[in-house]
Structure formats: structure tokens, C-alpha cells
């Protein structure tokens, strides 16, 4: 995987790969794969994502409590200057200390964990495994070394087989701030196994789920779920938000079109969210860059999205699109915009929302292919 906040790709060679009207793919006019090396795309404030999904990775973090700005997912962000932080005892009916949990993509044997504690105080801690829902077993108790010791290794009980690791600690007597800066699980490769660490822009979903404490139901606990922003294989281009601008990055390209009629631009996207970019925001609009005064400086929202319907079962009984799936966004290029041209220069522009009146704050879905055709295609 190759990441960079600003990547300007030179426009190389001919504008696009023209597939034309072949017998086996009759409707596609042209296709561009913007993440591939040498793709005829000039991008700014964008990055290229590629890689395979790791076998074992963190899919969720949650905690007994947290202070705003110190959410539990910060223990896996690879940044020791951020932390999960609490103060005082956990909310009732939780009776012992505060805790943070990380959930893995599948159960595995975990030999050890590494913890970088917040502050210099020593922590009386317990580490739990959770082989199945709501039943936790202590696999280690101890006291931290104290001081600024960096990542402190904690050896777990032999053959600890679990999907969830919880680290709990006793509340400080003076209710002083406590917490964890970083948490690693032995056997989970860093940083790929920690999407938040691998990519600071990885999406965070705030799923609220019911938690049971000793068979007593808590209202809800917020789950923070880092997403894999790239597909399992291949390369894609992602438009990034900019701290120095209202809107995000962009990618310019020229693509062949069929003159004199309506054309469609379809983006093949990998969406790491469980919702539509149209409602969520941080989406992509298509802008026209050339042509006469009636044809240029126009912008288009997707006329519709084709969403691969893989549903994820929610703990609350509902279903939702699986975070991490293929989505096809179809943009209608009106005939008057195309005119008599055989090629048109377009821009993929990252924007905050469909009204373009909120800043782009997270990356767009990753674009794996751009096609033009006289009808919206899923290929």
C-alpha cells in the first residue's frame, strides 16, 4: 500500500484507453483505472491505495467511557500523542474499573499484548479474553511498570484464544485522568492490522450497541469501527480532504465519449462505509472543464448509485450495507454538454456534501475505474 497526502500524477500519453464498440463489450466507450501506474489522470490532494486485506485485523474498539477527543479508537492509531482517556469510575452498573476493548476480525490465539499507558502512574490492570459474547475470562492480572515506559509487553495465559481483548484497570484514588495511548496485539501485523494506524483517514463508524454487564443490560456502548478503505487487491485513487481548503482533492482526465448524445460516466468505487456517500457526504462530483460556455464549469452529482448489496447483521437486529463493498456511481453527461465532441475533459472533485456547503472532512470512496458509455454500466 502506498499512501501520500499530496500526489500529483503527470498526465501521460493519450487521454484514455478507448475500448470502443467491440462485440464483447459493446456499450463501453472508454475506461481509465486511475490508481494504476501511468494512468492518464492528473490528481492533486489525492492518494493511491492498493493492497490485500490482512488475515487478522482490528474491526472495532470500544470502552467503558471516554472523554471527547480521547475516544477509544485512538489506542490503535499509531500515534502515542493521542490517547483514550477517562476520569473517575466507570458509569454504573459497571462495578470495577474502566476498560477498553479491541475486537479482531476472527478469533485467534493471542500470546501477548503491548500497552503504552497514559501518564506516569502505575496501573493495576486485568486483561480479559472473550471467546463468545458477554462472557469474559481474566487471562492476566498485574501492575504496570509506571513512568514513561513506552509500549509495555504483557504476556497472556498460554493458548489464549479469543476475538476480543479487554484491558481493564482500577480507578485512581484521586479520579486523576487515566487511559492508554497505544495498544497492540501480538500476532496482528502492524500497521496493516490496525486500519486506523495504517490510514489516519480510515472511516470510523459510531455503532451503538447494547452491552450487558453481569447479565444487566447497559443502555448502549459506542463501537468505533475502523474500515479498510481499499479493496482486496488492485489500486485505486482516493480524493483527500484538505485542511487548507473548503473542498478536497481532485483528479483531472480526458475521456472518450460518443458525440451528439447523452453519455454516462461511471465510477467503480470501494466504499469503506456502511452508508451511501450521497447521504454521508465526502463524495465525488464530476465537473466539466472544457467546451464552450454552456458546456464547461458545470458539475454533476451521481444520478444514482448501484450498491453491491452485501448486508451486515447489526447487533440490534437490523441490517445495513457491509462496510467495505463495491459501489458504482453513475453520472449523466447531458447531450448538450457532450455536443459534437469525441473527448471531454472532466474532473473528479472531492466535496463535503451534495449541496457543496460543508467542507470535505474525510476521504472520498476509492476510485478503481472510470468508464464512459452511452448507458450506466456495472462492469
Amino acid at each position: 500500500m502506498r499512501l501520500s497526502n499530496i500526489l500529483a500524477l503527470a498526465l501521460i500519453g493519450h487521454s484514455s484507453l478507448v475500448i470502443g464498440h467491440s462485440a464483447d463489450n459493446s456499450a463501453v466507450t472508454a475506461a481509465i483505472h486511475p490508481g494504476e501506474p501511468g494512468a492518464p489522470v492528473a490528481a492533486q490532494n489525492a492518494d493511491i491505495l492498493s493492497g490485500r486485506h490482512p488475515d487478522l485485523y482490528v474491526i472495532s474498539t470500544r470502552a467503558s467511557a471516554y472523554q471527547r477527543g480521547h475516544e477509544p479508537h485512538l489506542v490503535i492509531d499509531g500515534d502515542a500523542s493521542t490517547d483514550w482517556r477517562v476520569s473517575g469510575p466507570p458509569p454504573a452498573p459497571m462495578a470495577r474499573g474502566n476498560w477498553v476493548e479491541i475486537e479482531l476480525s476472527r478469533p485467534a490465539v493471542i500470546e501477548s499484548i503491548e500497552v503504552q499507558w497514559l501518564g506516569d502512574a502505575r496501573y493495576d490492570y486485568r486483561v480479559y479474553k472473550m471467546p463468545r459474547d458477554d462472557f469474559r475470562d481474566v487471562v492476566r492480572e498485574g501492575t504496570s511498570a509506571g513512568g514513561d515506559a513506552g509500549l509495555e509487553k504483557i504476556q497472556l495465559a498460554p493458548d489464549t484464544f479469543t476475538q476480543v481483548v479487554r484491558v481493564e484497570f482500577a480507578t485512581a484514588k484521586d479520579n486523576a485522568p487515566q487511559g492508554i495511548r497505544e495498544l497492540r496485539v501480538n500476532g496482528v501485523p502492524y500497521p496493516a492490522g490496525y486500519p486506523q494506524a495504517a490510514d489516519k483517514f480510515a472511516a470510523i463508524e459510531n455503532a451503538r450497541r447494547i452491552l450487558y454487564v453481569e447479565f444487566e443490560r447497559m443502555p448502549y456502548v459506542t463501537h468505533f469501527e475502523p474500515k479498510l478503505p481499499y479493496a482486496d487487491g488492485g489500486s485505486g485513487l482516493r480524493l483527500l480532504p484538505r485542511d487548507d481548503a473548503f473542498e478536497g482533492g481532485h483528479a483531472d482526465f480526458s475521456i472518450a465519449v460518443v458525440p451528439g448524445r447523452e453519455n454516462w460516466i461511471t465510477l467503480k468505487l470501494w466504499d469503506g462505509h456502511d452508508s451511501s456517500m450521497m447521504t454521508r457526504g465526502n463524495l465525488i462530483v464530476v465537473e466539466t472543464l472544457d467546451g464552450d460556455v454552456r458546456q464547461r464549469d458545470r458539475w454533476l452529482l451521481p444520478a444514482y448509485l448501484t450498491d453491491q448489496q452485501e448486508q451486515a447483521q447489526d447487533w440490534n437486529g437490523s441490517t445495513r450495507p457491509r462496510a467495505g463493498r463495491w459501489v458504482y456511481a453513475h453520472y449523466r453527461l447531458p447531450a448538450d454538454v457532450v455536443g459534437e465532441r469525441r473527448e471531454i475533459k472532466l474532473r473528479l472533485q472531492g466535496v463535503g456534501n451534495v449541496r457543496r456547503d460543508y467542507p470535505m472532512r474525510s476521504p472520498s470512496p476509492t476510485v478503481y475505474a472510470i468508464t464512459s458509455a452511452i448507458e450506466p454500466l456495472i462492469r
Binding site: 471527547r68 485542511d243 487548507d244 460556455v293 458545470r298 458539475w299 456547503d357
Partner: protein, 758 residues
């Protein structure tokens, strides 16, 4: 992109009536028995009035209703041209003090042809000189006729005309009230009325002396301004600022709150870095935060209208964030009572929730008339600045939050209205400040267009170069609308232009400079400095009362800031810059095609005009009323005219029913891909639907041609000024070029040309 040459033809264009030039058809000297008899004058409670110190001692007739429920009137016979546009001009004494609506009616019945005085007039508009008011008689009632019986009649007016009224106060009662006196009536067929030589005129305008300094105040800065600042500091400190309420009183609450940090940080205030003052600010913010939480966390329930109050609270906090941090107040526990129970959080967290919620609420409605988005954007910016001061993770960056300011200043397109978003997506963005530097509304606007004071505060708060550039451009444009005047005491001043404002039209507009605050913030800007130095030279600061007025717009920071700003600018070297309307300046032409506004100077004639104004089409279709004000040393004229215009056929139109008949007017073609202009309830519609592509006007010696189409847009096109028979030599006032107007003349996109016949 090459322009498209469009030649006027019946097939492609819509043309409206050509003005034929002819002499005056009817002239009545009121108070002159022979003249009145010839015109068949019948006066109902409109007695002759003649006083030696009024109207140069000439007689006139004043419309004086016998009661508040019955009108006064003056009927007369008028010869008209059956084929041309006819105009009625009335002669009025500019020092008159009663200005109420006067309708023109057909005497045989009650058909109302229009109101001759729809302006709000708070002071004598042309002191010591005559004003000629010209009104187009609807062509529907003159067509095919050679004479008409007309009647001028007082119309009902609000009892408190011109007085400030809060929106939550009941509307004023409408009554018949006395109008101005009339000294002459003239019917003619050129919108330009040249007064007959027999009309005596007052002495030509000259600037009066500066307002004198108050006795015992040799140094305004050290005495009067400081005294005023101290009065307001005292008021602000005594004000019960720990108060949060919905009614309009919240404006004072939050303005005072916003001022307290200024006092805290001013070394001369007597309360510099006073901890007790910081506590007062903290406690006041706490009160607002607690109330919002108690009201379900809904910012929309907090303040009436709510464009600025959260922003002022945020601004107060931003100025004190480091102080709060220093005292450790932000991380103190904060007990918050909500509908869901009592929570104990940190002050940092509850403040963050308060500002964030206010931002998320307010950003959803940012309004669309320029002044309103500017106020709202300032609030949004301040809220984000406060969140950054709190180091709240939800805060937008500086560059992101200034994006809302960019939208309000036209740097980014307006995206607060679906119709504007549609237009932007179609390649025709709607920007709230025009390229020429005026606000974008339905047309020119006076008071709500005077926004330099708030723009420079945005410059101050954002320190953003693009914001500054727009503020400078805006100020430079506004300086074109500054004309020499005298106040009611006869002291020299500058006045803004209001007569052609499409809303809240004030004529004359108020004394206006936009100088001292602007010059103190826009360091080195020669226009701002000239305005400031004129304001000082005219002695306007001498007129400030020891105690600042505490009206509905009172904000104590104004007097505090004025003192500081005056100290900053008072000793700056004199600038060589001169305003275009100052005496002795050369001819010029200025225009804003996007607003249909033209301004020019030709010798001693100064003209401020607009091709569209408040009319029944309300910007939804090409309107039927243009207006210009001619300022001359010896008299002024206020002229309404039906604009001649041209535009491509769109197939879209709007019909309006008048008392004298229906008028159907076209809409311009919508942007590419849009079949109609987007409309939003209750009555918002992109007013560019009603802005013709091409306007022209022949009035007296002048020919004005304006191509409103913007370069780089779907409208970009060249239009042709039709040939004017016999006008073989006309001089372009801007360039001096001599042009033969007896032949058609191409006018390129986004171009205004003003010619004077030679």
C-alpha cells in the same frame, strides 16, 4: 470563447417601446390663475400656499387631507402623445418636510396609475433647491389618445413612516396625511425633463462649513471620544450580562457580552486584565450554555431570529479562551441540567457542545440577501474559531470555516438555496457580491448594501487576504456612491445614494462615509483614508454626543473601537485620492451590469441610475421600471422610466395585473440544463430571470447602453444598440471616443457605454 454577435431582429428578440423625443405637451404653473384655468385644475383640500421663506417665495398647492380618512387631490387636463411613452413631472421644493405617497389616477374613476412618492423620506431631500420628479404615465392609458384627465391624490401612509420598527411590533396604522406642496406639472415624451427657463432655481449647491467643535473640546480624540468610550464601558460593566432570553433584548445582552473582552484587553479601559471581568464573561457564557442545554440543546429556540447571537457569544469566548485556560476554568467540572437529567462534564466539553450545536443549526439556513449571509457567515466563522480555541475535535480548520465567509462575499457561489445550487451546477453560479463590488439582491440596495463596517470586521477576525481584497473592492465601489451634501444644519457632509434602492428605499439616503473604521483596518487603502479624512475634516465627530445613543442597534464596542480607531488614523498623512463625485473631478462612467446599475458624471451632471428597480415583477421577469437620480448644482431630478431591453426568446414569461391592464414580461433563458428558473417558497427566485441581456436608454442628451451578459457564462453575447436617426456624433463619456450612433453599434458582453450627443 468568441462572443456571439446578436443583431436585433423581431424573430430573435423582444423589444420594448422606442422613446420618441418630443417637446413638453402640457405645463401648469400651480398658483398661477391663468395656467391653472387652462389646465382645468380642480383642487380638493389642496390650497395655494405661498410663503416668502419657502420655495423662493413661489406659490404652490399642498395636498392637505381634510381628515385622516379622506384624501386631498388635484385634478388637471393633460395633453398626451397617442403613440409615445408620456411622462408626468412634478416640481417640488426640496426643503419640504412632509413626504407621503401621492398617487396618480385617471380622474374619471379610480384607476391608479402609480405612486409618485414611494420613497421613505426622513429629511428634506434637496435643501434650498427644487426637485423635479418624473413618472411614466402607463402607455396603456395614453395609447391612441391625445388628452387625459388626471388626478394627483394623497395615499394612505403609515403613521410612523420612516420610523424604526422592530419586526415583532404591530404594523403602523395607515392614514391619509399631508403631502408636499406642488409647484408645477408637466407632461412630456422624453424621460429627460429640462425645466423651463421661467422656473426659478435655488442657489447652486456648495459644501457648507465643517460642523463646529463642541465648546471646550479642543481635542476630540482625547476628550469627547474617550468620554463616550468610558460612558459605554461603564454601561457595559453595569449591564446584567448574565442573562439569556429569546426576545429581541438578547441583541443587547450578547453585544455587551462581546464587548467585555475588548474592555478586558484594552490597557486604557481601567479594567485591563481584571479577573473579576473575566469571571463576569465566563458566568455570562455559562448562562447561555445552561439555557440551551435545558431547552433540549436546540440552538434554534435560543434567540429571536438568531443570525448573530451565538456568534457574538463565540466571539466573546474566542477573545478569552487563553484567559479561561490560564485560570483553569475550561477543565473544571460543569454541572449541566438537561431533560435527560443532570450531567457533570467539563466546561470545555459543554462549551464545545454549545458552539458545535449552534454551528450545525445555523449553517442550515444562511439566508440569501447579501447582508444576511454576511452576518450569518460571521457567526459560523466565530463559532468555529471558538471550537478551535477549545481544541474541540469537531472544529473545522481556519481555511474550511472561512469558506462560509467566502460564500457570503461571493468568492464562492451561494449554496444556501437549492435554486442557487442548481444554477451553480449548471455553470451559472450565484455570487452574493457582484464583480463590480455591489451586493447582489434584486438590484441596488441602500442601507442593506452599506456593509463595509461588517466586511472590515471580517477582515479583522479572519486575517484572510481574499476577504481583505473583497472588502477593499467593496469599499471602493461604495465610494462611488458618496456625494457631497450638507446636513440639516448646513454643515458639509457626504451622503449615500438611496433613491434607486429596490428595498427600504430611502431618499435622501443618510449621511455616510465608511471611513474611520475602514481606514483603521484596511491599512494604506487610499479610498478608506480619503473617506476617513473627509469625515474628520467635515467635523462629523464633533457632532457626537457625550453619551452614545442607546437605541436598538446600540453596541458599546462601537464607541470603544471608534476611540481606538480614531487614534490610529487621525495623524496619517493626507491622501491625494479623491472620490469621483467630489467637486472638480473629471467625467467618469461606472457600472455594475449584474445589477443593472449605471453611474456617470458629465461636467456638473451626476447621474445614479438602475435599469431595474422595485416593480410588480419583483425580479421574476424583466421589470418595467428603471430609475435615475440626476444631481445638478441648482436642482435635482428623480426620474422613473420604462427600460428598453432585449433578450433571447425563452418561452417563459410572467403576467401582472395592474389597475390599468395586464402586462406580460419575459424571463431570460434559464441556465443550461434547467427548463425553468428554480423557485422556492415563499417567493425566492433567482432574480437573474428578470435581468435582461441588454438595456438601453435615451434620455435628454445621454444614451446609455448596457450589456449585462457576463463573460465566461452561457449568457456571454454581444448586443447591438439600434441606430438613433440623426445622432451622427456622440462622445463616449469614459473614453472620449466620438461615435456615429445613427448606425447600429455593437456592445460587447459585460460592457456599459454612456454617450453624450454632440
Amino acid at each position: 470563447m468568441p462572443s456571439i454577435l446578436r443583431v436585433l431582429s423581431a424573430a430573435a428578440l423582444l423589444l420594448f417601446p422606442s422613446i420618441s423625443r418630443a417637446a413638453t405637451l402640457t405645463s401648469v404653473t400651480l398658483g398661477n390663475e391663468n395656467s391653472e384655468q387652462a389646465a382645468g385644475i380642480v383642487a380638493v383640500t389642496a390650497p395655494i400656499e405661498q410663503k416668502p421663506d419657502i420655495a423662493l417665495g413661489e406659490p404652490g398647492r399642498r395636498l392637505v387631507p381634510a381628515s385622516e380618512n379622506s384624501p386631498a387631490s388635484l385634478a388637471f387636463d393633460a395633453k398626451v402623445d397617442p403613440a409615445a411613452q408620456n411622462y408626468l413631472t412634478i416640481r417640488i421644493w426640496g426643503s419640504d418636510t412632509t413626504w407621503t405617497p401621492v398617487n396618480l389616477l385617471l380622474d374619471q374613476g379610480s384607476i391608479n396609475l402609480g405612486n409618485l412618492w414611494w420613497h421613505v423620506t426622513r429629511e428634506p431631500p434637496v435643501p434650498g433647491r427644487f426637485l423635479y420628479r418624473t413618472f411614466p404615465i402607463p402607455i396603456e392609458v395614453t395609447r391612441g389618445k391625445t388628452s387625459l384627465r388626471l388626478r394627483l391624490e394623497t395615499a394612505v401612509a403609515p403613521q410612523t413612516i420612516g420610523a424604526f420598527r422592530n419586526a415583532d411590533q404591530p404594523p403602523p396604522k395607515l392614514l391619509y396625511r399631508p403631502s408636499f406642496a406642488l409647484y408645477g406639472l408637466h407632461v412630456h415624451t422624453d424621460s429627460w425633463f429640462e425645466p423651463p427657463a421661467s422656473d426659478r432655481q435655488g442657489p447652486p449647491f456648495v459644501w457648507g462649513p465643517p460642523a463646529p467643535k463642541p465648546a471646550g473640546y479642543p481635542d476630540i480624540a482625547g476628550q469627547r471620544l474617550l468620554e463616550r468610550a468610558r460612558v459605554d464601558i461603564d454601561r457595559a460593566l453595569k449591564y446584567n450580562v448574565a442573562n439569556s432570553r429569546y426576545d429581541t433584548g438578547h441583541r443587547h445582552d450578547t453585544r455587551v457580552l462581546e464587548t467585555l473582552p475588548l474592555i478586558y484587553h484594552s490597557e486604557w479601559s481601567g479594567h485591563f486584565q481584571d479577573r473579576a471581568l473575566a469571571e463576569k464573561i465566563r458566568d455570562a457564557i455559562d448562562v447561555h450554555v445552561r439555557r440551551q442545554a435545558a431547552q433540549g440543546g436546540d440552538p434554534g429556540t435560543m434567540f429571536y431570529r438568531g443570525w448573530g447571537s451565538h456568534g457574538r457569544i463565540a466571539h466573546a469566548f474566542s477573545q478569552m479562551g487563553e484567559v479561561f485556560d490560564k485560570f483553569g476554568w475550561l477543565d473544571q467540572p460543569f454541572e449541566l441540567k438537561t431533560a435527560a437529567g443532570t450531567k457533570i462534564l467539563s466546561r470545555r466539553q459543554v462549551y464545545g457542545d454549545f458552539f458545535h450545536a449552534a454551528f450545525e443549526w445555523r449553517r442550515l439556513d444562511r439566508r440569501s440577501w447579501t447582508n444576511q449571509p454576511i452576518y450569518v457567515s460571521h457567526t459560523l466563522y466565530s463559532l468555529q474559531k471558538a471550537l478551535r480555541a477549545l481544541r474541540d475535535s469537531r472544529a473545522l480548520t481556519q481555511a474550511q470555516s472561512v469558506g462560509y465567509v467566502y460564500e457570503a462575499l461571493g468568492i464562492r457561489p451561494l449554496h444556501s438555496r437549492p435554486g442557487a445550487i442548481d444554477a451553480a451546477a449548471a455553470g451559472y453560479p450565484y455570487r452574493l457580491i457582484t464583480r463590480a463590488g455591489l451586493t447582489r439582491e434584486k438590484g441596488y440596495v441602500d442601507a442593506y448594501g452599506e456593509l463595509t463596517y461588517t466586511l472590515v470586521r471580517l477582515v479583522e477576525d479572519t486575517a484572510d487576504p481574499q476577504v481583505r481584497a473583497i472588502a477593499e473592492k467593496f469599499l471602493h465601489t461604495r465610494s462611488v456612491f458618496r456625494v457631497p451634501t450638507n446636513d440639516t444644519a448646513g454643515n458639509a457632509a457626504l451622503r449615500g445614494i438611496g433613491a434607486m434602492s429596490w428595498r427600504n428605499t430611502t431618499f435622501p439616503f443618510r449621511i455616510a462615509y465608511s471611513g474611520i473604521e475602514e481606514a483603521s483596518i484596511l491599512d494604506g487603502d487610499p479610498v478608506a483614508l480619503r473617506l476617513a479624512q473627509l469625515e474628520i475634516a467635515h467635523g462629523r465627530l464633533n457632532l457626537l454626543t457625550p453619551e452614545p445613543e442607546r437605541g436598538p442597534h446600540w453596541s458599546p464596542d462601537n464607541s470603544i473601537r471608534l476611540y481606538q480607531q480614531y487614534l490610529k488614523v487621525k495623524d496619517l498623512p493626507a491622501t491625494g485620492h479623491r472620490l469621483p463625485a467630489e467637486p472638480g473631478q473629471p467625467d467618469f462612467v461606472w457600472s455594475d451590469p449584474e445589477n443593472g446599475v449605471f453611474v456617470f458624471r458629465h461636467g456638473e451632471n451626476l447621474v445614479y441610475g438602475s435599469f431595474f428597480n422595485l416593480d410588480a415583477f419583483s425580479g421574476h421577469a424583466v421589470g418595467d421600471r428603471g430609475i435615475y437620480q440626476l444631481i445638478r448644482p441648482e436642482s435635482e431630478r428623480l426620474v422613473e422610466f420604462p427600460p428598453e431591453f432585449a433578450l433571447p426568446e425563452s418561452g417563459l414569461s410572467i403576467t401582472v395585473k395592474y389597475p390599468f391592464g395586464e402586462r406580460t414580461r419575459p424571463q431570460t433563458p434559464p441556465p443550461p440544463g434547467m427548463k425553468v428558473w428554480a423557485k422556492e417558497p415563499p417567493d425566492w427566485l433567482d432574480h437573474r430571470a428578470g435581468r435582461a441581456y441588454f438595456y438601453h436608454l435615451q434620455t435628454g442628451p445621454y444614451v446609455i447602453a448596457m450589456n449585462t451578459t457576463e463573460t465566461g457564462t452561457y449568457r456571454e453575447s454581444t448586443w447591438t444598440l439600434p441606430a438613433i436617426p440623426g445622432v451622427t456624433r456622440a462622445r463616449d463619456l469614459a473614453t472620449g471616443e466620438i461615435v456615429d450612433l445613427s448606425k447600429p453599434l455593437a456592445i460587447p458582453a459585460y460592457t456599459t457605454r454612456v454617450f453624450v450627443r454632440e
